[in-house]
């Protein structure tokens, strides 16, 4: 395809691609996001390619590796068109059957269909799955429709039309006004109104101005930004170009963590192709607007997701935040006005421009507009990426979309907002999720991680996990965060080992307050949230650890001991073999015993025993 010199040429190219690909009605879509690749999507894709070649169908059937479909629990996902038949968990050996029966025969293979674990019904199409049916996938839904390596695919589904509209019909002020009235708030964690950010940046004095896409997603269990950048890189680039036009910038950076090699590769290829077609670079679509994008690879420091630390890292300095008393929209990268948004925010922009702020602002709640992608992980049946309108309740996400908690266990709490977020207890599950409601409940939206925890979870242990994560990942610059997290982890260590004192709860709370008030950046200011929210909702659990020396969930190793029930023990000797401390004694046919002095409470015997003879006390 040749370079596109105007909006008209873009539209011509679009209709050419559409008529061209229309001749190939049959297509096979293989989800090739990182999650499905880990489950063998590459082998499945290869098997399809071989099979189609063998049958001389390569030209007739469009084989499409796409980005993440979101239903990561049951990858690799394969969708066959026409008909939209969805097969989950496909293996390479099933490929010939799928090609001969479904692709050629138009038949639905019952055995390969998804069976709903609750109702037992088979689902044929995507919309038949409860997981997809209750979502509103306006952002991530396009992942399924395109090969991230093909700019034609993106143009075919209407890509770069929003950029064309902006460059031909709108002034920068119009764009800002549109984004402002859409009510879009930053999806990276802070929830700052995007339109207002752009406006301040446009007004700020200083040249050149920069736009940055923050793809340094580091929350444990969160991967929606990776999936977007991996699956639909052009959407992000288009959003950035529109933002750059609005604030008056001609240079952009995408800061991707190096742990995301596929995202880096896909976005680099997208930049290259967009440049070739004149959708990035100089004089875009003949409008006179220039915009270049560079990809910067981060070293995987959690703190580099903080805007000023990220900018320091791009400037090749140590990734630590600096005070933001003068905002980054006025003095950001290289002390120039800078607009930084995260991947999901940028991906929302083309949708807003194309379908209009009025349409967009009808989705969501009063204070939080649009949809939000959550990564639903933890003790949940359907792990995956879930996009729902703001204001959806936890209950709907966990039970309708997520399929509930595995093994019939009870829900205990949901951790939102990553390590800086908080734990929402099960009694608040009817709460509509938006920025303000989460903050009020002592947590935050963060980038949209949602870790579901069942009754086997110890809240002190969870608080300890997140504090220890942040202790490692704090940049170490300011005292309250660096020293406060160390002391917090020491106190929690004491409590979980049964050495705690009741006064330590007050000390924890006072320390948490100081960290919130005195820390330099948002990492430190929110670092105490996991502790504060668990004390707020699960205080009795802390007290049980301290006062009764009991871990109610039987998780904290210092407060749990293992014994063998001689009635059940068959003396098989398996536990004796796995015990790393040689604490288990017993002969054949004699019930075994655990020497409590030697036992290090690792739980290896508990997991090995087939008969349930080992009991946690």
């Amino acid at each position: 395809m040749k370079s596109l010199g105007s909006v008209e040429e873009l539209e011509e190219a679009r209709s050419a691609i559409r008529t061209g690909s229309g001749s190939r009605r049959r297509s096979i879509t293989v989800c090739s996001g990182t999650g499905c690749q880990a489950l063998g999507a590459d082998r499945v894709l290869e098997a399809f390619r071989d099979e189609l070649e063998k049958r001389n169908l390569s030209d007739e059937v469009n084989l499409k590796p796409t980005g993440c479909h979101g239903f990561c629990e049951r990858g690799p996902i394969v969708v066959v068109e026409p008909g939209g038949v969805l097969y989950p968990g496909v293996e390479a050996r099933q490929v010939p059957e799928i090609v001969s029966r479904t692709v050629l025969g138009g038949e639905i293979i019952d055995d390969l269909l998804y069976i709903d674990p609750i109702t037992g019904e088979r689902a044929v199409r995507k919309d038949d799955l409860a997981f997809y049916r209750h979502q509103q996938r306006i952002i991530i839904g396009d992942n399924e429709r395109l090969n991230p390596g093909s700019i034609e695919d993106y143009i075919a589904i209407g890509g770069y039309a929003a950029l064309g509209k902006v460059l031909s019909k709108m002034t920068p002020e119009d764009v800002i006004e549109e984004v402002k009235s859409s009510g879009l708030r930053g999806r990276g964690g802070g929830g700052f109104p995007t339109g207002r950010k752009w406006e301040s940046c446009r007004r700020a004095k200083g040249e050149p101005k920069y736009v940055i896409c923050n793809a340094d997603e580091g929350d444990p269990g969160a991967y929606m930004d990776r999936s977007l950048l991996e699956g639909n890189p052009h959407r992000v680039l288009e959003g950035m170009a529109i933002g750059a036009y609005a604030i008056g910038s001609s240079e952009g950076y995408i800061y991707v963590r190096s742990e995301y090699p596929l995202a880096t590769k896909n976005v680099q290829r997208a930049i290259e192709w967009a440049g070739k077609l004149g959708l990035l670079g100089e004089d875009i679509l003949g409008s006179g607007f220039d915009f270049q994008v560079k990809v910067v690879s981060g070293g995987g420091a959690f703190v580099c997701g903080e805007s000023t630390a990220l900018m320091a890292s791009i400037e090749a300095k140590r990734g630590e935040p600096r005070p933001k008393y003068i905002h980054t929209v006025a003095r950001g990268l290289w002390n120039k006005p800078t607009t930084l948004n995260n991947v999901e925010t940028w991906a929302n922009i083309p949708v807003i421009i194309e379908r209009g702020a009025e349409w967009y602002s009808k989705i969501g709640t009063e204070g939080s507009k649009g949809t939000k992608i959550f990564s639903l992980v933890g003790n949940i049946n359907n792990t995956g990426l879930v996009e729902v309108p703001m204001g959806t309740t936890f209950e709907e996400i966990i039970f309708k979309i997520g399929g509930g908690i595995p093994d019939g266990r009870k829900l205990k709490a949901v951790q939102t907002g990553g390590p800086s977020g908080g734990c929402i207890p099960s009694q608040l599950m009817d709460m509509p999720i938006d920025f303000d409601a989460l903050t009020k409940a002592g947590s935050m939206m963060g980038s949209g991680g949602m870790i579901v925890m069942d009754e086997g979870t110890c809240m002190v242990d969870i608080a300890k996990y997140f504090v220890n994560f942040l202790k490692r990942e704090s940049c170490g610059k300011c005292t309250p965060c660096r020293e406060g997290l160390y002391q917090m982890s020491e106190i929690l260590e004491d409590i979980s080992a049964g050495r705690g004192e009741i006064g330590q709860l007050d000390l924890l709370q006072q320390l948490a307050q100081v960290m919130r008030d005195a820390s330099l950046c948002a990492l430190g200011r929110t670092a105490a949230n996991p502790v504060l929210s668990t004390i707020r909702y699960f205080r009795e659990e802390y007290e049980a650890h301290i006062r009764d020396h009991v871990c109610p969930a039987k998780v904290c190793t210092g407060l749990v001991s293992y014994t063998i029930d001689p009635e059940i023990c068959t003396a098989c000797g398996r536990c004796r073999k796995v015990c790393p401390a040689d604490a288990i004694t017993g002969e054949r046919k004699v019930p075994h015993e655990i020497d409590q002095e030697k036992c290090i409470r690792c739980g290896a015997c508990f997991e090995t025993c087939k008969f349930g003879a080992i009991v946690k006390v």
Partner: protein, 238 residues
Amino acid sequence: MVHIKLNGVEVWAEADWSLLETMRYYGVDVPTLCHHDGLEDYGGCRLCLVEVDTGGRPRLVTSCTHPVFEGLRVRTHSKWAVETRKVVLELLLARCPTSKTLQDMAAKMGLSEVRFKPRYEDCVLCGLCVRMCEEQMGSGAIVFVNRGQESDITTAFDITSDQCRRCGACMYICPACELRCGGPDAPGVLCGSCASPAPTCLNVYDDAKCYMSETACGTCLGRPKASQDDRGISEGRK
């Protein structure tokens, strides 16, 4: 020139002054550790926190890095600011319990107990030496390495640096390296006797180890340097 309200009093300041400079100009003192007049401000130690109100919610800011602008309202000794500064100092003291500089600050601020676990580190990570080396000496031989709890200040790759001219500026500016006081008391309790007009340190505790050089620590003795010898300071050091 801008006008700000400092502890209820309207004062003027030059537009390019920091809040700390303005406060010091008017004789209002807050403790500082990572600040030095000759170096770029860092905002790391968080000891110079003050409460500001810019029309919205009041918040605590580091006065060394905060600019002054028209209409800014500042309260340097509100309960919130004072209590928060105390806990920050407590955290620093837990890191470096033997730092004389920190102990003196504690005595001045009325902090008499550290409730946190002592770590017995030597370095407070204020970064003064790093900035001294880079900004004033133009060398950049020492840098911060690692992050979080592993944060440290050292030469690149931990080997003798070719950049280092052994000027000693880092040692000169360090508030923690040189001045150590083991103190007479158990960890956690601060005697504060150095700052007291009636010192207890040497008289009461026979085995007190004072590592202060005579010039650096005179307060403990409450006497001019000339007469220190007859107080038996050299014996105390054994």
